[in-house]
Symmetry: C2
Subunit: 213 residues, 2 copies
């Protein structure tokens, strides 16, 4: 038997053999947002050694989870349909781990892809369906996200554009999503800085994206 196998005939062990290695599910997390080039993956996972990234990509490809796809002269990595089926796993992990987040430390970064998956985790379709469609523009450091909520559907794109509410924030937004911090307090304390639009729309945001701690 291969030394890194668990020796059990079981779905969970099989899953862990395929995506249980260090960094593997984080690569999947970023690819769930969209196809990514090697350098984009490396940028979204700043602490991954480049040889490990290369090794994981090879393993995940051999496992049928992702594929290298040539896109007009450059190569992108994209999930296969089977790889995409990991989304429930990643969302469940994210929801569980969210509750174990303590206050952010300085060296902890927030990447656009990680925020995007966090928003997908915290998104409450049934609540959103009852609210008017809304576009939020979020600036996180140098990155901008356009968060479109239309009925029960969510779309998060890495672009800028017109928004009903544009705000700048950082890791502290997790306290807004957890309900630990009320929207008006978030604005008052500077955790969220309103750039354009009606600040009271942050109430709607907090209702739409919520994950109890």
């Amino acid at each position: 038997m291969a030394p890194r196998e668990y020796g059990q005939y079981c779905g969970i062990t099989r899953a862990l053999e395929l995506v249980g290695e260090r960094w593997a599910l984080l690569i999947v997390r970023d690819l769930l947002v969209g196809p990514r080039r090697y350098g984009e993956l490396a940028a979204g996972l700043p602490r991954i050694p480049t040889n490990v990234l290369a090794a994981r990509l090879k393993e995940l490809q051999e496992a049928g989870i992702l594929r290298r796809a040539p896109r007009s002269r450059v190569i992108v990595y994209e999930l296969t349909p089977y790889g995409h089926e990991l989304e429930p796993v990643v969302l469940a992990l994210g929801a569980w781990g969210f509750k174990a987040l303590d206050d952010p430390r300085d060296e902890q970064i927030v990447t656009p892809d990680s925020i995007t998956m966090s928003l997908r985790t915290a998104f409450r379709p049934q609540v959103a369906a009852e609210l008017p469609s809304t576009v939020y523009g979020a600036r996180l450091g140098p990155d901008e996200l356009l968060i479109r909520v239309a009925g029960p559907t969510l779309d998060v794109a890495r672009e800028s554009g017109p928004a009903d509410l544009a705000f700048a924030t950082g890791p502290g937004i997790h306290r807004l999503i957890s309900g630990e911090l009320a929207p008006d307090r978030a604005i008052a304390t500077g955790v969220v800085e309103v750039l354009r639009g009606r600040g009271d729309l942050l109430d709607r945001f907090a209702s739409t994206f919520h994950l109890a701690a």
Copy 2:
């Protein structure tokens, strides 16, 4: 920063820091079935080095996922409420990995706890609710499981007792659950051996426990 941390402020990375180490989620898998002693965990994970088991138990305890509980002179490990919240993660992983199972190899074992969690993964409450309550007795090598399906609820216990259908089987049962093998074919080919009761109840079993490949 601790060297084994990912350096991101994100629920998924946090989750992987807590339960992403090798063997950790398999320990959780077995504890989801019930409290277990050190030796029981070691027996259910025959390939885990004993020092790694001890290390994981310590880490999972510090993370608030499990606790050591004295039970009448012996110590058992049991999940905390927060640890129990990993069940959706484990079930999602199991459902995904189930589809990647190929034919079992000789050295791959099936443990009572892994089978129990597989049954929980494959259980279809809405289908079961439409069927009469049924008790199945499954013998897997030396182990016996009593599988009680009552309405939309499932209970799997490691004991023997009266059953509407008692059968012996092995890893090949996964082909029954995946639908790859019809119930009558499973009996005909010896994948499932009926010990007592009406063999046609295996149809009901296959309807109740199903996970498409």
